[in-house]
C-alpha cells in the first residue's frame, strides 16, 4: 500500500513550461493519467519515476523522495512506451537481467513467476526481436514486476495493441490492483481510461485540469456546451421548438440544408430532440455531434469549465440533471 504524492510540481525546459504546478495524491488501485498528446504526461511520469528532476516541487512515495534516491527503484516498476528493448536477448534473459539488477534474492523463481504472470512462458526462450508488439509489451510488464514493486508506472501501455491484447493487459492491471498495488498509466484515449481506471487525473497543456473518479469526470465532459448538426424534414420548425427549451443555447439555420445547435446539457438534449420531433411529426434525418474530439473536451476542462479553485475537483460539482 503506497501513496505517490506530487506537491507543487513544475517542470520547464528553458522558456517552455511542460508541467505547471501540479498536485496529486495517488493511492492504491488504478489511476489513469489522461491528456492529449504533448500535455506533459511523459514528463510527469518521468518525474514520478525520479528520472527527471522537477524544476520546483517534490515527488514522494510514502514520504520518501523519488529524486536522487536510487533505493526507491526497489519499490517502482516502470513500463516505458518505447518498443526498443535489448532485443538480442531472449524474454527470459531480459526479465532475469531486470531481476539481477534489482538484486532480487531469488532471481530464478522470480523470473519464472513474472513471465508466468504475463502468460509468456511458451515464448520466453525466443529472442525478443521475434516478438509481436503485444508480446514485447507483456515482457516489458514482466520485467517491471519481477522485483514485486508496490508501484507500477506505465507510459501509454495500450499503444498499438489490438483489442485482444488490450483486454489481456487490462485484466493484468486489474489483477495487480486487486493485490493492493498503486498503478498509474498514461493515455490519451478516453475509452481506454474509462474501461479500467477507478481514478482519473486529467492533464492538459501541462496543467492539472481535473481529478476524481471516472463517472464524475465523464459527466463534467458531457455537461459542457456541445455542438450538433441536425438535418430534419422541417428544419425551421424544429429550430423554433428546440430554442424554446432551456437546455438549448442557440440554433442557427445553415442554408436550407441543416441546423447547427448548441446545447448545454448532453443528457437533456438527448431526450429533447426525439420528444419535440415526435410531438410535431418532424423526421430527424441526421444528428451529429460536431466537436467530439478529445482536444475540445480537454480544452473545455481547462479553459471554460466553471470552477471554484483550480484544479477543478469533480467531487465538488453537483450532479447534472441527467444523473
Amino acid at each position: 500500500m503506497s501513496d505517490l504524492v506530487l506537491t507543487d510540481v513544475s517542470r520547464w525546459y528553458g522558456n517552455v513550461v511542460a508541467v505547471n504546478d501540479v498536485n496529486m495524491q495517488i493511492g492504491p488501485g488504478i489511476t489513469g493519467l489522461l491528456g492529449p498528446n504533448g500535455a506533459g504526461k511523459s514528463t510527469l511520469l518521468s518525474m514520478m519515476a525520479g528520472l527527471l528532476p522537477p524544476s520546483s516541487g517534490t515527488v514522494t512515495i510514502d514520504g520518501q523522495p523519488t529524486r536522487g534516491n536510487i533505493a526507491i527503484y526497489r519499490r517502482i516498476g516502470l513500463v516505458p512506451v518505447q518498443e526498443s528493448l535489448y532485443d538480442f536477448l531472449t524474454g527470459t534473459q531480459f526479465v532475469r537481467l531486470n531481476a539481477d539488477l534489482q538484486r532480487v534474492a531469488t532471481p530464478h523463481p522470480a523470473t519464472e513467476h513474472a513471465i508466468r504472470l504475463v502468460e509468456m512462458t511458451d515464448a520466453a526462450d525466443r529472442k525478443i526481436s521475434t516478438y509481436s508488439k503485444g508480446m514485447k509489451q507483456r515482457i516489458k510488464v514482466a520485467s517491471a514486476l519481477v522485483h514485486d514493486p508496490d508501484i507500477l508506472l506505465l507510459d501509454e501501455p495500450f499503444n498499438g495493441m489490438d483489442p485482444i491484447q488490450r483486454r489481456h493487459m487490462m485484466d493484468l492491471l486489474r489483477e495487480f490492483a486487486e493485490q493492493g498495488r498503486t498503478i498509474v498509466f498514461s493515455s490519451h484515449i478516453l475509452e481506454e481510461v474509462e474501461q479500467i481506471a477507478r481514478h482519473v487525473e486529467v492533464v492538459v497543456a501541462g496543467r492539472h485540469a481535473a481529478s476524481g473518479d471516472f463517472a464524475a469526470i465523464r459527466r463534467l465532459m458531457t455537461d459542457r456546451p456541445n455542438q450538433y448538426r441536425v438535418r430534419s424534414s422541417d428544419d425551421r420548425t424544429l429550430a423554433a421548438l428546440l430554442l424554446a427549451d432551456p437546455a438549448v443555447r442557440g440554433v442557427r439555420l445553415r442554408g436550407d440544408t441543416a441546423l447547427e445547435v448548441e446545447a448545454d446539457d448532453f443528457g437533456a438534449f438527448a431526450t429533447l430532440v426525439p420528444r419535440v420531433a415526435r410531438a410535431d411529426g418532424i423526421r430527424i434525418l441526421e444528428l451529429t455531434p460536431t466537436d467530439e474530439s478529445l482536444e475540445s473536451v480537454f480544452s473545455y476542462l481547462v479553459n471554460d469549465a466553471p470552477r471554484s479553485s483550480p484544479p477543478l475537483r469533480s467531487a465538488d460539482t453537483s450532479p447534472g440533471p441527467q444523473a
Binding site: A18, G38, S42, L52, P53, A71
Partner: protein, 240 residues
C-alpha cells in the same frame, strides 16, 4: 562496476552483426602488415613499421573500434531509450556508465591495442621496441577515445554523427592542419607515445611529452565518464 551490466554489454557487443566490423579492422591491419613486410623485401626498418602503426593503427583501427563499441553500448541505448531499463534500478548512474565504458575500453584493448602489438611483430619482429610501443600507444589512444566518445554519446543528439565528425574533422583533419590541436587530440597522444617509446629516428619528434599524453588520456577518460554520469541524472522516459 556491475556484473549484470558488464555481461549485458558483452552480449550486446557480440550478439550482433556489427561485431564483424570490429573484428575486421584488426584483421585487415595484421594482413596489411604482412603484405608490407613481404613487399619490403627485407628493407623494413623501425621507422617504416612505426609510421604504419601510427597512421593505420592509431589513425584508423583505434577510433573505428572505439566508435563501433561506443555506439553499440551507449549511443544506441540513449537514442532508442532502452537505457531506461538500467536507470530505473537501484544502481548509481556512475556505476552504469562506468560498467559500459569498461566494456568499451576492453573491446578497444582487445580489438585495437593488442592487434597493434601483433602487427608490430609481423612488421619488424620482437627484437625491436616498435611493437610494444604500438601496444602502449594504441592503449593510450583507446583510453582517450572512449572517454571522448562516451561524453559525446550522452550529451549530443544524433550522437553517432557527432562522434564520426569528431573523428574525421577534429582528429583526422584539423589535428594535422592546426598545430595546437595536438594538445587536445586522442590521436596525437597515442602517436606521441609510440614515438617516445619506439625512439626510432622516424619523421620528426613527438608532438607532446610522454607524461602529458598519458595524463591527457586518463583525464579525458575520467572526465568523459563523469560528464556522462551527470547527463544520466536527468532523463525523460519518452519524447513528447
Amino acid at each position: 562496476m556491475n556484473g549484470s551490466i558488464l555481461r549485458l554489454g558483452l552480449r550486446s557487443l557480440f550478439g550482433r552483426a556489427r561485431v564483424w566490423l570490429m573484428v575486421a579492422m584488426p584483421v585487415i591491419m595484421i594482413l596489411l602488415a604482412g603484405v608490407i613486410r613481404a613487399a619490403s623485401e627485407g628493407t623494413m626498418d623501425d621507422a617504416h613499421a612505426e609510421s604504419f602503426l601510427r597512421v593505420f593503427g592509431v589513425g584508423i583501427v583505434v577510433p573505428v573500434v572505439a566508435l563501433v563499441a561506443t555506439t553499440t553500448l551507449i549511443n544506441s541505448e540513449f537514442d532508442d531509450g532502452s537505457i531506461i531499463y538500467l536507470l530505473t534500478k537501484p544502481i548509481s548512474r556512475l556505476t552504469i556508465i562506468g560498467s559500459k565504458a569498461a566494456v568499451v575500453l576492453g573491446a578497444g584493448l582487445v580489438f585495437a591495442a593488442a592487434p597493434m602489438l601483433l602487427a608490430g611483430f609481423v612488421l619488424i619482429g620482437g627484437s625491436s621496441r616498435v611493437a610494444v610501443a604500438a601496444l602502449v600507444g594504441g592503449a593510450v589512444s583507446t583510453v582517450a577515445y572512449v572517454g571522448i566518445f562516451t561524453a559525446l554519446a550522452t550529451t549530443m543528439k544524433r550522437s553517432i554523427i557527432g562522434c564520426l565528425l569528431f573523428w574525421l574533422l577534429w582528429e583526422s583533419t584539423l589535428s594535422s592542419l592546426l598545430s595546437p590541436v595536438k594538445w587536445l587530440s586522442a590521436r596525437a597522444w597515442g602517436t606521441a607515445v609510440i614515438q617516445h617509446l619506439a625512439s626510432a629516428p622516424g619523421d620528426g619528434k613527438p608532438a607532446v611529452p610522454l607524461l602529458y599524453a598519458v595524463l591527457g588520456a586518463v583525464i579525458a577518460f575520467i572526465a568523459g565518464i563523469a560528464l556522462a554520469g551527470q547527463r544520466l541524472a536527468s532523463m525523460t522516459i519518452s519524447e513528447e
